[in-house]
Amino acid sequence: MILELKNIEKSFGEKKVLTDVSFKAEGGKAFGLLGRNGAGKTTSIRILMNVFPANRGQVLIDGEPIDYNKIGIGYLPEERGLYPKKIIIDQLTYFAELKGMSRKEAVKAIDYWLGRLGMTEYRNKKLETLSKGNQQKIQLITALAHDPDIVILDEPFSGLDPVNAMLLKDVVKEQIAKGKIVLFSSHQMSYIEEFCDSIAILNNGIVALHGDLHDIKRDYPRDRLVVKTETPDAIVADFGSSCKVLNGGELMIRLGSPSEKKAVMTRIVENYDVDEVRVFEPSLNDIFVEVAGDGAKEDEK
């Protein structure tokens, strides 16, 4: 199953929030939707979930307009919150019923998930009596209990301790293995790198980068060298403004173009005492900062 957002445009009043946003997410794989605060991630998700319509563009499943009666969507919103004063099983059942489950099915599914997340003991307690992390696990159940085809997780790891984060990772992997479309939105790049096969980075309502994460990394211009040395000063003096000292004490040398790579590497190795010279491979974090950072384009807002 392939979920596709095609040429989505959305304005609130005079403010244009999304401009020609298109991306594809595949079943059995996780998709990372990245972007800074206010870049349009939540708006994209809401359009995808039919909370409000787009001004233009389509949401497609396997090339056909999505039928919300057939395609189930599970959503863990970034702004967490359920009914604090209600019994956990009651409200979870309510939400599952709203998603179209019968009461019996809902209770069965919820009991399974409470057990899976180690929360069975809280079944008949009020939500407000739970710790923040546990409340978050309860909220996760609202996204998963009705066995949706598309699972949207907005900052799923925030507020979880390492043990719970591990538990959530397992659950997410399980969902991916079941062939579901898992859509991640997060600022924690390490998780995105761990799970997501493809990503889209939104910046000011425009898809700044979209595609397979490995391809993106491989295709990234190999125009920087990282040099590890005990005597950086001479190299800095030699390369001038194209050379920067990184946090770890390593040097980063920006090349005029990727073709200079071999010549510059040879020059460094022959002239200076270095421990290591390598081509800089950007992490997702680096890519994100470059694509969506203040230097990339004018900042949003």
Partner: protein, 413 residues
């Protein structure tokens, strides 16, 4: 529809589990029971009283220069003021005043002549009718004496004075007196229920929004189902509460009917004509719904619970305006004035205005039909509009948006 049913059920359960809601209902039922059993209880005490020695009566002093007049006044006053021990006094005014202020006597009539007196009392109560009664009695005595002086026999004079007029009133339209009380009760119940349940709907929406449960709800359920589910649940809860209160009133009244005797007010309340009861139900439901939708829609635009009251104020004022118009028109007796006629077609005032006119005046059937038609259409319109405002409003955080920007957002959505 399925989703709507689930929301309705969930919201109704919330009312059933709401301790304040259940508590208030039971409290009101107890109050009603106390009121309805009151005559029965007082009868029990009265019987005990009767076996006791008669209680001390308060003293009423009478002073006249002419001893014959003093005797006559005492005699007639004793029959007119049965709750007083009427005594003649010869003391000076100062001494009389002192007796009154010291509590020795309650009041005094000092005759300044056959047609003039001064009434002395310590604290003049708002409801003190004594001077009026005395005036009436003295007038009669004067008229009697004049007639006897003019040559009429005492019997004839007494006959003239005590002549009874046989009067029969036949109202061809409505009897305002008879319908006044249940109209009043219905308007008042509508007032209480709309303000109370409107606030409850508003609270329920705003609580979901501020706890961010809304983020999930709005992606799980259609706004129109949410809005209609919430409002109809409030409406059902309100009706159950009213049925409980008025039902218990009816039950307790029937249990104590013999003790209430011939009380016209109570009788008129419980003997509401069936067609008027149907109108009451129609206007009550529609009036309730239209306001509940408004309250729900407006509270969806509020981010913080504290801001609800300010946000819903315009709706409350709109409602109060209708309430005031109806109340003033009812008490003035002219329920068909121009303002009431206009108000009986405006959807926000017609539930009160049109019902009052139907109950207390004669309104052609087509006017009623037009009014109900407008009200039904507006209720649905407002319901759908409120669902739209709700969808836009619940996702707006931060300061409460201005009405203009909401209308714009709804228009474009």
């Amino acid at each position: 529809m399925n989703q709507f049913g689930k929301i309705l059920k969930f919201e109704l359960k919330n009312y059933a589990k709401n301790k304040a809601f259940v508590g208030v209902t039971i409290f009101l039922m107890v109050i009603i029971a106390a009121v309805m059993f009151f005559p029965r209880i007082t009868v029990l005490f009265e019987k005990e009283d009767a076996s006791d020695t008669p209680a001390d009566l308060s003293v009423m002093l009478v002073k006249a220069e002419d001893p014959a007049q003093a005797d006559m006044v005492k005699e007639t006053f004793a029959t007119a003021f049965t709750e007083y021990d009427v005594q003649i006094t010869e003391k000076e005014i100062g001494a009389i005043k002192e007796r009154i202020t010291s509590g020795n006597a309650e009041c005094a009539f000092v005759m300044n002549g056959a047609t003039s007196f001064t009434y002395y009392v310590d604290n003049l109560s708002m409801y003190d009718m004594n001077p009026d009664i005395a005036t009436g009695v003295l007038q009669q005595i004067y008229q009697m004496n004049a007639m006897i002086g003019g040559g009429m026999s005492q019997e004839d004079a007494a006959g003239v004075m005590s002549i009874q007029i046989d009067a029969e009133v036949e109202s061809l339209g409505k009897d305002q007196m008879q319908n006044f009380f249940y109209t009043y009760i219905m308007i008042f119940a509508l007032y209480m229920v709309i303000l109370l349940y409107g606030q409850m709907v508003a609270m329920s929406v705003a609580t979901e929004k501020s706890s961010r449960a809304m983020e999930l709800l709005i992606t799980s359920a259609k706004p129109i189902n949410m809005m209609f589910g919430k409002v109809l649940a409030a409406c059902t809860a309100g009706l159950i509460q009213l049925v409980a209160i008025f039902g218990s009133a009816l039950l307790f009244y029937n249990m104590n009917k013999s003790y209430w005797g011939e009380n016209e007010i109570i009788d008129s309340i419980f003997n509401i004509p069936p067609e008027l009861f149907v109108y009451m139900l129609i206007f009550f439901l529609l009036g309730f719904l239209i306001y509940a939708f408004l309250y729900g829609a407006i509270s969806s635009t509020v981010s913080k619970l504290e801001d609800i009251n300010t946000a819903v104020q315009p709706v409350t004022y709109l409602f109060l305006f209708g309430f005031m118009v109806v109340m003033f028109s009812m008490s003035s007796g002219s329920v068909d004035n121009v303002l009431m006629q206009i108000c009986s077609y405006l959807p926000f005032t017609s539930p009160m205005a049109m019902f009052t006119r139907i109950a207390m005046s004669t309104v052609p059937w087509y006017e009623i039909a037009i009014s109900i038609g407008i009200l039904i259409a507006s209720t649905f319109g407002i319901g759908i509009l409120s669902a739209k405002i709700y969808r836009v409003g619940v996702l707006m955080y931060g300061t409460s948006p201005k009405i203009g920007s909401i209308i714009k957002a709804v228009w474009k959505a």
